[in-house]
């Protein structure tokens, strides 16, 4: 494995989202829009043409009034590691190396200037976390003044997605370097959605670091592709073997089932995930 060659324990940034706390208010979405210069159009009601790196799904238990229940699923890019580190559905298929998997952070990157818009990665992503710029991004006159220089605005004809606010990591490291440090504190690198969440439903940190809250909440099992040991935690479509870094926690069983279908009982010796990589 490549980690071996690096001098130190690599990071594995990930998220734990408490679905009991999440209220579906959508602050995470807008925090993301404004942090990452996400463009907007006059009509955003066709959700399949609407760029939302962080998207909140509304899910119901399908029961009739008054037994109906609703749960909200915030869905950023899942930053899949795949069955062997870095074999994400999208990274493996990009023909021009425009999307990459960073061993140091476990973050799936997207380089807008490298991407030439073949959209293969979008077809590969089961979470619909990737978005194509069908239009040129246009800001009403004057509004371009709020654009952040830390995130490059995207041009028409390329794919974009959640980056775990990677620029915040870059800036935090800048600060660390100037202070003669090489390591970051847990609080120094937090994503915009995590920071904004009014319900404190999102937790972000290094899944490899036992001191970090995400590690304690999700209890990833390093020997089984980081499957959560916390019985209330689960990952979207666990059985695809995408080995994602977004863990969801819910006390409601129907919610956990909605997140990852348990059509075939999931057992650690199930060969399902193994089949999914190669």
């Amino acid at each position: 494995m490549k980690q071996a060659q690096t001098k130190h324990q690599p990071k594995r940034y990930g998220m734990v989202i408490d679905l009991d706390k999440c209220t579906g208010c959508g602050a995470c979405m807008v925090a993301c829009f404004s942090e990452n210069n996400v463009p907007f159009k006059e009509d955003e009601t066709d959700k399949r043409l609407s760029i939302t790196w962080m998207k909140v799904y509304k899910v119901t238990n399908g029961k009739k009034f008054p037994d109906t229940e609703v749960c909200y699923f915030p869905r950023p890019c899942q930053h899949c590691a795949g069955q062997h580190e870095g074999h994400s559905p999208c990274v493996s298929v990009c023909p021009a190396t425009a999307t990459d998997y960073g061993m140091e952070t476990g973050i799936v990157s997207q380089i807008y200037t490298r991407c030439f818009g073949c959209r293969y990665c979008m077809g590969a992503c089961p979470y619909h976390a990737r978005y194509f710029n069908w239009w040129d991004p246009v800001w009403p006159k004057g509004m371009e003044r709020y654009l952040s220089p830390n995130v490059s605005p995207r041009m028409r004809g390329i794919v974009e997605k959640c980056s775990f606010c990677y620029h915040r990591y870059q800036l935090a490291r800048n600060k660390a370097y100037t202070e003669g440090r090489r390591t970051l504190k847990e609080s120094e690198y937090q994503t915009a959605c995590t920071q904004a969440c009014p319900a404190n439903a999102i937790t972000f940190g290094d899944l490899n670091n036992p001191d970090h809250a995400v590690h304690q909440m999700a209890q990833p099992d390093l020997h089984h592709h980081y499957k959560p040991k916390n019985p209330h935690a689960f990952r979207l479509l666990e059985r695809l073997g995408t080995n994602t870094k977004i863990y969801y926690v819910s006390s409601r069983e129907w919610v956990r089932k909605a997140g990852d279908n348990y059509q075939v009982p999931l057992t650690t010796d199930s060969h399902g995930p193994e089949n999914s990589g190669h």
Binding site: A96, A98, W134, K257, G272, N275
Partner: protein, 423 residues
């Protein structure tokens, strides 16, 4: 007028009539070109694709034409490597059709990418793990091969052939043709396969995903196989169509039957393999990823079980058997029907592998996504067809594509203008 350019001993319609026909097709071409420019200048918002349908009509068209163009490499393989010498009477046309199909595929890809100016990154910054990279390389290499195979045909134009340099060039190229045929077959094996791989490696899309042999999913081999099987059918169908339009017999039945028979056996064997693959997927692959196979054919208006009936029975076993069984094979109607069914079958297979894969909801709380192409997409997909027709018209008129034409259509001293209705 242009009689000097027309091959000796064959009859062609009058130039005005020819130009008229050309003009009509060119109108369609122009429509397609207009749509193409719209997509390049205004961007892909001109299409009905969306974030669920990153791949749509265009990618299907690519997969389909390349499968149908498979006749070129396979008949090349049969003639030069396996030694089915009779095929030399149809191979020119197979090459021409292949050339058209592959150039069309490349054109469509050039429209399909969001940043055409950067499309060369696929070569320059290639990611060798990506099936699409493999496609790009093999596709363009094989297109080069097809061009090389097509050139001598052009050189045989009466006037060009007069130039000794070109004459000798074409003559020498003939010698090397076996090499090119071999190269072509080799390249085709990989790009046909990698096109299958494009869908087969998507482990995030349980509907398309297949287990692997080495780095290649089953669909890799199925696609190569199906291209070799249905490609010749397409060649046969186009030949038949040309004969109908020109009202001439252009290739001897013996040759037709031979190719039909081969195509038939290839189809049958392919469809059996395909059925096994499907069964394995239904009862192993899909469940392993947490899905019951029926899920992929429910709760949506279009993709139901009839898809399989159409693809495997009507598009597979039926044409396969029709072409294997001698009486039906040698019955014009049955044979042509078989080739048509085959063409539809393989096209449907490519459609399903691309479009249904996109339509299926993977997240349990997501819904089926349906899609109807915009007129710009349709126009740009029709564009290559028009272009193909034009290329065939010109080639047929000025090049000796069908070696048996003169023999089959001896010119009577007095040529009644009537028989000269054609493309």
């Amino acid at each position: 007028m242009d009689s000097a350019l027309i091959p000796e001993g064959v009859k062609r319609c009058s130039l005005p009539k020819f130009l008229l026909g050309l003009a009509v097709v060119s109108l369609v071409l122009a429509w397609g070109v207009y749509a193409m420019l719209l997509c390049w200048i205004k961007g892909l918002n001109q299409t009905n694709m969306n974030d669920y349908y990153g791949f749509a009509l265009w990618i299907w068209a690519d997969l389909a034409v390349i499968a149908l163009g498979g006749g070129a490499f396979f008949s090349g393989l049969l003639k030069y490597i396996i030694g089915k010498d009779d095929l030399k009477y149809i191979i020119n046309y197979a090459v021409l059709i292949g050339f058209i199909c592959y150039s069309s595929a490349l054109l469509i890809l050039a429209i399909d990418v969001g940043q055409p100016l950067r499309s060369w990154f696929i070569f320059w910054h290639a990611n060798v793990h990506s099936m699409l990279t493999e496609v790009a390389f093999c596709l363009s290499c094989y297109f080069a091969v097809l061009t090389i195979e097509y050139i001598p045909l052009i050189l045989e134009n009466r006037q060009i052939d007069k130039v000794p340099f070109f004459h000798n060039l074409s003559h020498n190229m003939h010698g090397a043709m076996a090499v090119f045929a071999a190269t072509g077959a080799f390249l085709s094996f990989f790009h046909q396969g990698s096109l299958g791989g494009v869908a087969g490696v998507l482990f995030g899309r349980p509907f398309a995903y297949r287990e692997h042999i080495l780095i290649w999913p089953y669909t890799f081999f199925l696609f190569t196989w199906s291209a070799a099987a249905y490609g010749p059918s397409f060649t046969l169908f186009i030949t038949w169509l040309t004969e109908k339009i020109t009202r001439k017999k252009l290739v001897k039945d013996k040759v037709i039957y031979l190719l039909a028979k081969i195509s038939g056996w290839m189809i049958i064997t392919y469809i059996i393999a395909k059925s096994l693959d499907t069964l394995y997927w239904m009862y192993n692959t899909a469940p392993a990823e947490g899905f019951k196979w029926t899920f992929f054919f429910e709760n949506n208006p279009f993709y139901t079980h009839w898809v399989w009936v159409a693809e495997i029975i009507l598009g597979g076993f039926v044409p396969g058997l029709l072409l294997i069984i001698k009486p039906t094979r040698e019955n014009n109607f049955c044979r042509v029907t078989a080739t048509v069914l085959g063409i539809l079958g393989v096209s449907l297979n490519r459609w399903v592998m691309v479009l249904q894969t996109m339509a299926v909801p993977v997240l349990s709380f997501d819904t089926w996504a349906m899609y109807i192409p915009s007129w710009q997409e349709v126009a740009t997909t029709v564009l290559p067809v028009a272009y193909g027709v034009i290329l065939i018209m010109i080639s047929y008129r000025y090049l000796p594509i069908f070696p048996q034409e003169r023999e089959l259509n001896p010119i009577e001293p007095v040529a009644p203008a009537a028989d000269a209705v054609e493309a």
